[in-house]
C-alpha cells in the first residue's frame, strides 16, 4: 500500500542552490519519512542527463511516486511527467515542489529559504502518497471547423483551414462578408487600395468548395467540447431565397425607401430597404431590412401577416425569377445545427461610434465632426461621395481639416485606458489621402504621442509630416465650437507652450477600437474569457496568443484586442494552424483532471443524494443525471454523473457537493488534506 517515493532536488545551476541548502532539503525529505526511499540532488534536473537520472532511479529503485523539487510546475511538470512515463510509471504520480519561484528567488536568507523548502517538499511528498494513476481521456474529433466572423481575420483563417483540405463553416452576421477592411479606403503604410486587396480574398472564399458560408446568420448556442462541438446557427430571415436569386439588382432599384442610413457607409450614405451593403458584397444577393421596409412597417402597424399587406410589393413584382420568385416575405428565422471539431472566433471590433461622449470635441453635436471610419468612407471610391472629400453638412470641400487623436483611447476618464494601436497610423494615412485629393488644403493633427512600431510605419508617419506637410501639434484639444460655418478647434501645443486656435472646416476624431457591444454575451455563449475592456482573452499573452480559455476555441483578429491588418492576418494564420493540428488527429488526448461522482456497490450505488447543486454551479453544463435502475427497470435513485468530455476540471462541483460524492482527479480531498496536514506548525 505504502508508496516508494523518490525526491529529486534540483540546483538549477545556482538559481536554487545559492539560497537553499539543497543537500539539507534532500536529507530532511528522508528523515522521519519511511515512504521516501530515495533522495538525491542534481545540477539541472530538466537537462537530458537529469531526466535520465529520474528514469533510471524509477526503474532501479522501483519508485511509484516522484517529487521533483525544482522550478514552477508551469515550467517542467510536463517534462518530468513524460520522463516518468517513459520509465513505465504513471505520470500522475509526479508532483513538483516549486523551490525556485517560491523560495530561492524570493527569500535571500539561506536558512529561511531552506526551512521553507523542506516544508514545501514534505507537502508534495504527502500529496504524492495520495496520488492515483490517471489516464489521459481520449475523445474523437469531428474534422470540420467553424469560423465566426467574415472579416479579414475570419476569411484568412477559413481559407487556410479549407486549403489544407478540411471543411469549414463560416458564420457572418452581416449580409456580406468583408468586415471593416472592406470599408477602408486605403491601407497603411503602402497606400494599397483596401478593397482591391480584400475582394480577391472574398471571392476566393466564396469559390472554395470546402467552405460553407452562412451570412445574415448568428451563433445561437455552442454546446459540446473540444473536437465535438454542437453549434446552433440562427439563419436570420433574409426574405430572399439565396438559391433562386441571381443578384440582378432589379429589386433594390425599384425600392421606394431610399433614405435609410447605410451601415456600410457609417451613416454618411443612403441605401434602400432591400439592399446589398456594397457593390462587391459576397454573396452579391440582397437582404430585406424588415425594420424599414414599408410593407413590414404596415403589417406591424395593422398587426397582420406581412404577406397580407398590400402597401408596397414592388420588389416582389419586379423580381424576374420564375416560376417561384426569389423574394419571400414569409421567410422565418431558421435554426440549423452543425457538428464542429474546432472553432475560430474572429468577430472583430466596433469603432467607438458614440462620439457624443466627446461633447467637448463637438461629437454628436456637429455634422462635420466625424469618426475615422466615416473619413475612410468619404475617401473611398465606393463611398457616398465617390472618393471626393466633402463635408457632410453642405458637401463643401474642407480646406482646413483637423484630426484629433486618441479619441476613446488612452483616456481612463472616459473608461478606456488602452491604446487602440492603429489610430496614429491611420491618421497619418488620412492626412495623406486628404492632401492627395485636396492639394491646397491643410491638415492639422493633435496628438499625445505618435506610435508607429511596425515595418515601414515610422517612415510612413514622417512622410505625412515632411513630404505631405501635415502639421502635427503635440497636445490635446479642449473644445470645438461652431463659428459661422467654421468649427473652431481650441487646443494646446505643449511643445511651444502656447494655445492654438484653428478655424477648421471639418474635424476627424481618431476613434478607438472597442469590443463589440455584445462581446460579453457572446463570450458567455462560448465559455471564453474576456478582459476588462471586453476583448476576448488568450490563455497566455506571449506563449499562447491565439488559444482561448476553452479548449478547441481559438481567437483571431481584433476581437482579442486592437491590432492592424498585418497582425490580424498573422494571428488568423496562427489560429488556423492550431485548428489544423487538432483536426489532423483522429482522437485527442485531454488531461484527466476531471471530476467524478462516486459509484459504489449495491445497495448504496452512490453517496450522491441527487440534489444537483453541482449542476447549478458547473460553468460547462458537464453534470448530467443518471437513473440507477433495478432489474425490473424501476428507478432506484437519480444521481449526478460528470461528462468527462465537457468537464474542464475546475472543481466547483466538488467544493459544492454536500455529501462529498464528487472528487476532482489530481486535487481530491485526500490530496489537499495531505498537503495541509503536512505543513509543519510549531
Amino acid at each position: 500500500m505504502s508508496k516508494k517515493i523518490g525526491v529529486f532536488v534540483c540546483h538549477c545551476g545556482t538559481n536554487i542552490s545559492a539560497t537553499v541548502d539543497v543537500e539539507k532539503v534532500a536529507e530532511e525529505a528522508k528523515k522521519n519519512n519511511p515512504g521516501v526511499s530515495y533522495t538525491t540532488t542534481y545540477k539541472y534536473m530538466c537537462s537530458d542527463p537529469g531526466q535520465k537520472l529520474l528514469r533510471d532511479k524509477i526503474k532501479e529503485e522501483g519508485l511509484d511516486g516522484v517529487v521533483v523539487a525544482a522550478c514552477s510546475p508551469k515550467m517542467h511538470e510536463h517534462t518530468f511527467r513524460n520522463a516518468s512515463k517513459k520509465a513505465g510509471m504513471n505520470p500522475y504520480h509526479v508532483e513538483i515542489s516549486n523551490l525556485r519561484e517560491q523560495c530561492s528567488w524570493v527569500h535571500p536568507d539561506k536558512p529561511t529559504g531552506t526551512e521553507k523548502s523542506v516544508d514545501l517538499v514534505r507537502m508534495m511528498t504527502e500529496k504524492t502518497r495520495k496520488d492515483k494513476s490517471l489516464n489521459p481521456i481520449k475523445v474523437p474529433v469531428t474534422k470540420r471547423a467553424l469560423v465566426i466572423g467574415g472579416g479579414i481575420a475570419g476569411i484568412q483563417a477559413a481559407l487556410d483551414i479549407a486549403d489544407a483540405g478540411h471543411e469549414v463553416i463560416m458564420v457572418e452576421r452581416e449580409a456580406s462578408i468583408g468586415g471593416h477592411m472592406a470599408q477602408l479606403s486605403e491601407t497603411f503604410p503602402t497606400l494599397d487600395c483596401s478593397q482591391c486587396i480584400m475582394t480577391p480574398k472574398m471571392v476566393e472564399l466564396a469559390q472554395n468548395e470546402n467552405i460553407t458560408l452562412y451570412t445574415w446568420s448568428e451563433i445561437e448556442a455552442v454546446d459540446g467540447y473540444l473536437g465535438n462541438f454542437d453549434v446552433k446557427i440562427r439563419k436570420k430571415a433574409r426574405s430572399v431565397d439565396l438559391d433562386l436569386c441571381t443578384g440582378c439588382s432589379s429589386c433594390w432599384q425599384v425600392c421606394p425607401s431610399k433614405k435609410i442610413k447605410s451601415e456600410f457607409d457609417m451613416g454618411l450614405g443612403k441605401r434602400t430597404a432591400i439592399y446589398i451593403p456594397f457593390p462587391q458584397a459576397i454573396p452579391s444577393k440582397p437582404v430585406l431590412d424588415r425594420e424599414h421596409c414599408l410593407l413590414f412597417k404596415d403589417a406591424r402597424k395593422k398587426n397582420i401577416p406581412p404577406n397580407d399587406s398590400k402597401v408596397c410589393r414592388k420588389c416582389l413584382d419586379i423580381c424576374p425569377i420564375a416560376p417561384v420568385k426569389a423574394i419571400d416575405y414569409t421567410q422565418e428565422d431558421e435554426i440549423i445545427t452543425e457538428k464542429i471539431g474546432a472553432i475560430v472566433v474572429a468577430t472583430g471590433y466596433k469603432e467607438l461610434d458614440d462620439i457624443s461622449m466627446y461633447g467637448e470635441y463637438g461629437g454628436g453635436k456637429y455634422k462635420d465632426v466625424i469618426t475615422g471610419l466615416q473619413f475612410e468612407r468619404l475617401a473611398s471610391a465606393s463611398g457616398p461621395s465617390e472618393g471626393e472629400i466633402q463635408r457632410p453638412s453642405d458637401g463643401k470641400v474642407p480646406e482646413i481639416i483637423v484630426f484629433i487623436q486618441c479619441v476613446g483611447s488612452r483616456d481612463p476618464a472616459k473608461g478606456c485606458s488602452y491604446c487602440s494601436k492603429t489610430c496614429c497610423m491611420y491618421t497619418a494615412k488620412h492626412t495623406m489621402l486628404y492632401k492627395h485629393k485636396v492639394h491646397h488644403g491643410h491638415a492639422y493633427v493633435f496628438y499625445i504621442d505618435i506610435r508607429c512600431p511596425g515595418k515601414g510605419y515610422e517612415e510612413f508617419s514622417l512622410r505625412a509630416i515632411e513630404e505631405e506637410g501635415a502639421t502635427y501639434l503635440r497636445g490635446r484639444v479642449s473644445r470645438v465650437y461652431k463659428k459661422g460655418d467654421k468649427l473652431v478647434v481650441l487646443g494646446a501645443d505643449t511643445l511651444t507652450g502656447s494655445v492654438v486656435e484653428i478655424e477648421a472646416d471639418m474635424v476627424v476624431l481618431a476613434s478607438a477600437m472597442k469590443a463589440q457591444d455584445d462581446a460579453e454575451k457572446f463570450a458567455q455563449k462560448l465559455s471564453i474569457q474576456y478582459d476588462k475592456d471586453k476583448f476576448f482573452s488568450e490563455i497566455h499573452p506571449k506563449l499562447k496568443p491565439v488559444e482561448s480559455s476553452s479548449a478547441g476555441i481559438f481567437l483571431a483578429g481584433t476581437c482579442q484586442g486592437p491590432k492592424d491588418i498585418p497582425e490580424t492576418v498573422a494571428q488568423a494564420g496562427a489560429a488556423a494552424s492550431k485548428v489544423l493540428a487538432l483536426l489532423s488527429a483522429d482522437e485527442l488526448e485531454r488531461e484527466p483532471v476531471v471530476a467524478k461522482v462516486d459509484r459504489l456497490p449495491a445497495p448504496i450505488f452512490s453517496t450522491c443524494i441527487g440534489c444537483f447543486y453541482c449542476q447549478r454551479v458547473c460553468p460547462y453544463g458537464a453534470i448530467e443525471s443518471e437513473d440507477i435502475k433495478a432489474r425490473d427497470g424501476s428507478t432506484i435513485k437519480t444521481v449526478a454523473r460528470v461528462n468527462e468530455g465537457l468537464c474542464q476540471g475546475c472543481g466547483l462541483c466538488a467544493a459544492t457537493c454536500r455529501s462529498k460524492s464528487v472528487e476532482l482527479a489530481g486535487f481530491n480531498d485526500e490530496q489537499v488534506y495531505a498537503e495541509i496536514n503536512s505543513v509543519e506548525f510549531n
Binding site: 529561511t112 465559455s527 476532482l664 480531498d669
Partner: protein, 165 residues
C-alpha cells in the same frame, strides 16, 4: 522588513497557508519569483485549479492544524479561467465569513484577494500585508487549544477523509 536579519529576536512568526488558483494567483506568485521580488517567508502555498473549488473545510482544517492566518486568492472578477468560479468563491466567502465570526474566529485571520498572473507586485504586497496583520493578531491559540481537547489528529493524512466524510 522582509529581510530575515532585520527581524527582531523572538518575534512571532505566523504561519500562513495560501490557497491559490492555478491560473491567476499561482502564476502571479511565480511572476514575483521571476522578478526576484522579496517577501516574507511565512507562507505555504496550496495550489488548486480554481478558488471556486476550495472547500471551506480546507480552511478550517488549516486552522485546526495550526495555521495563524489564511489567504484565498484567485482571478479578478471576469477573468476566471472557468468563467464563474471566482464568483462562487466570493459568494461562499460571504456566507463563510459571518459563520466564522459567529464561531468566535476573528475573520481578519482569513483574507480574500484577487491577484492576476501579471500582478507579481500585488502578490508581494498581499503576503507582506497578511503576515504583518496576523503577526499583530498573535498566535491563533484559541483554536489550537480546542484541537488538543479531542483525539490527536496529527496521524497524517490517512484520517483526513474520514474526519470530513
Amino acid at each position: 522588513m522582509s529581510k530575515a536579519e532585520a527581524k527582531p529576536e523572538n518575534q512571532f512568526e505566523p504561519k500562513i497557508i495560501a490557497f491559490l488558483c492555478n491560473w491567476c494567483t499561482y502564476a502571479g506568485a511565480d511572476l514575483a519569483g521571476t522578478g526576484r521580488k522579496e517577501y516574507q517567508a511565512n507562507v505555504r502555498i496550496i495550489k488548486l485549479p480554481c478558488t471556486g473549488g476550495i472547500d471551506p473545510l480546507f480552511l478550517i482544517k488549516a486552522f485546526e492544524r495550526g495555521a495563524d492566518g489564511i489567504l484565498v486568492s484567485g482571478c479578478h472578477p471576469g477573468d476566471c479561467h472557468y468563467n464563474s468560479g471566482n464568483y462562487h468563491a466570493r459568494r461562499r466567502w460571504n456566507v463563510f465569513r459571518p459563520l466564522l465570526e459567529f464561531c468566535g474566529i476573528n475573520p481578519d485571520r482569513i483574507q480574500f484577494s484577487w491577484i492576476s498572473a501579471a500582478e507579481g507586485g500585488k502578490w508581494v504586497e498581499t503576503i507582506n500585508g497578511i503576515v504583518d496583520a496576523v503577526r499583530e493578531l498573535g498566535p491563533f491559540e484559541s483554536y489550537q487549544k480546542l484541537n488538543t481537547i479531542g483525539p490527536e489528529t496529527s496521524g497524517g493524512a490517512a484520517d483526513a477523509s474520514s474526519e470530513t466524510g
